[in-house]
């Protein structure tokens, strides 16, 4: 799943996209400036960069929560809007965003319920996903009875409810402590290997980006641009485990990303896409 040999169709194709936010008194902020990026089916791509580099904006554009000022975005060959309507992606935000009045199962069933799945099918799918994220004992619990990590796992399960081929994740582990975070990363790697979905993952943690990704997109702020794209050769998703964090190649990639972020290396090094 790591590299689709001949990608018939991109999971995400962002072409020359700019997003300008109009400010007061005619002042405007260019959040994204002529950004192009493709994501292959089944590929895990991280967007990393300092705050204000437009990584979350880019993700919101792909999710059709916002529209680009110029340029085009295609998701599985469709417009972003059509892809949203067709439920081609699942989404996870930094805050779990669970409905407090619904149980774990109820929250996971929410998208299925909204789209008219029948009760038995909903129950079955929810049970499946609850097992996938390891919350079997908490099915009937309410979000306020769960820890932050557990809430985020429910949010991930919810995003997978309709078996999307694309997952959009906006700093999903940003609010978690370091230990929970690493455990969640391990689980995400496993879940991705099991579902085979493409992932666009926004983060500001370098090790997180390297550990999870096939490619790391390094962005720079004001205006938001893609500085470089780094391929990470850490093997197949299903083979990635805890040991990887001590791997030579892992450290190497981490320092490469760090150099790119700080902009101290000569350009044109190893990036898959140079611009």
């Amino acid at each position: 799943m790591t590299t689709a040999a001949t990608p018939v169709q991109h999971a995400v194709a962002v072409t020359d996209v700019s997003r300008v936010f109009a400010g007061r008194k005619g002042a405007s902020v260019t959040a994204l400036d002529a950004v192009s990026l493709t994501v292959a089916p089944g590929e895990f791509v991280s967007l990393i960069g300092p705050s204000g580099c437009g990584k979350s904006t880019l993700m919101r554009l792909i999710a059709d929560l916002d529209t680009p000022t110029s340029g085009s975005i295609e998701v599985f060959g469709k417009s972003a809007k059509q892809a949203r309507i067709d439920q081609d992606y699942g989404i996870v935000f930094q805050q779990a965003g669970l409905l407090p009045w619904r149980t774990v199962a109820g929250n996971i069933e929410l998208p299925l319920e909204l789209h008219g799945a029948d009760k038995a099918a909903r129950r079955e799918r929810a049970a499946e996903l609850i097992e996938l994220v390891g919350l079997t004992d908490f099915t009937a619990h309410y979000p306020d009875q769960l820890s932050g990590g557990m809430q985020q796992r429910v949010a991930i399960a919810r995003s997978l409810a309709e078996s999307p081929s694309l997952l959009l994740m906006d700093e999903p582990f940003g609010a978690l402590d370091e230990m929970t975070r690493e455990r969640m990363q391990n689980e995400l790697v496993r879940i991705c290997a099991e579902t085979g979905a493409a992932v666009v993952f926004v983060t500001h943690s370098i090790p997180e980006a390297v550990f999870l990704s096939n490619r790391v997109v390094v962005m720079s702020p004001r205006p938001g641009r893609i500085r470089d794209v780094l391929g990470v050769n850490l093997g197949r998703m299903s083979d990635r485990g805890e040991n990887l964090r001590e791997d030579e190649e892992f450290f190497h990639s981490v320092s490469r990303v760090r150099e790119l972020l700080h902009g101290s290396t000569p350009t044109g090094a190893r990036g898959v896409e140079n611009r």
Binding site: R84, Q95, L99, L110, D137, D144, Q145
Partner: protein, 314 residues
């Protein structure tokens, strides 16, 4: 805002943050006790003032700053209670006071209930309209607020006169409908304001999520906005209940409707000079109506408990 939780049937698995309290836990008996103590303190204060207060009150520069503590002005509590058990008047056919007051209370309660239902319906409808269309909010909200500055006394005769002109088929406008309408006029206000705030209360996150699910305004309303508004709506409903009761009592007086507690208050007040315990009976009756109304809303909130859980941030 007590947060209550479902007690897990089995011991909570390790790692659960058990915040739920059993709803009959230590909290409830304590609250009842504190409430009873509050009433008792008020009664003691009343009796204490009668005991030590000057019989002619305290007058500073022609203005009475403390009331007269005479038996006519401030009857003892037991005088009030005794009076309730006696017949209304000295005539042989007179019913006991408590029965007269109870009947009047029920009458007023019924009108208040109608006013409350109409008011809540109108208030919710206005809130939905304002939530749906920003333009509607800009157009309606100032009028909603302005509506409450019109004095009730000015309104009552108007409503009565307009109502009298309504007649079609077997339906004709009755005076009690005017009273209910005025009650609803007071009741709709807190509901429309509270519901508007509640409907707008979901996080941006949740609204985004609904957009991701590509569901329309109605589904978002039903699955997200309405449940999220419950915490704001319940206090509004309680306020509306109190307003409806006050509106009914006052409107009964200004419209001149017989049979309700408002009329009884005015009628019995005239007897204060010779029968100091008498005016207090309908006042207790109106308190009773208010308590029943508030209790009814409390009952509603019991059913909506589930929607008042807060999501605890990690």
């Amino acid at each position: 805002m007590t947060q209550t939780g479902t007690a897990p049937a089995r011991p909570a698995p390790a790692g659960t943050v058990a915040r739920g309290r059993s709803w009959l836990g230590r909290g409830t008996p304590r609250r009842i006790l504190v409430g009873a103590l509050g009433v008792l303190a008020l009664a003691l204060l009343w009796e204490l003032y009668i005991l030590i207060g000057p019989a002619d009150g305290v007058i500073v520069g022609g203005v009475t700053v403390l009331p007269r503590a005479s038996e006519m002005a401030m009857p003892h509590l037991w005088v009030m209670l005794e009076r309730i058990l006696e017949p209304v008047t000295g005539s042989a056919t007179a019913v006991p006071m408590w029965l007269a007051v109870l009947q009047a209370s029920l009458f007023t309660l019924g009108i208040s209930a109608v006013g409350w239902i109409v008011g809540v319906t109108v208030g919710l409808a206005l809130a939905l309209l304002m939530q749906r269309f920003t333009l509607a909010e800009a157009a309606i909200l100032p009028w909603v607020i302005l509506s409450q500055t019109v004095p009730l006394i000015a309104l009552a005769p108007l409503v009565r006169r307009w109502g009298a002109q309504i007649e079609f088929g077997a339906f004709s406008w009755e005076n009690w409908m005017s009273v209910a309408l005025i009650a609803s006029y007071l009741a709709f206000f807190p509901v429309s304001i509270g519901a508007l705030k509640g409907l707008g209360s979901p996080d941006a996150n949740h609204v985004d999520l609904m957009r991701c699910y590509a569901v329309g305004w109605w589904k978002t309303l039903w699955r997200l906005r309405l449940p999220a508004s419950v915490g704001f709506l319940l206090p509004s409903l309680r306020l509306a209940a109190a307003s409806a009761v006050i509106g009914s009592v006052v409107a009964e007086v200004s419209i001149g409707l017989r049979g309700g507690i408002g009329r009884l208050i005015v009628e019995y007040a005239g007897a204060a000079g010779s029968d100091p315990g008498k005016p207090w009976a309908p006042i207790f009756g109106s308190i009773l109506v208010g308590l029943v109304a508030a209790g009814f809303v409390g009952l509603i909130s019991l059913f909506l408990r589930r929607f008042r859980r807060g999501e605890v941030a990690s």
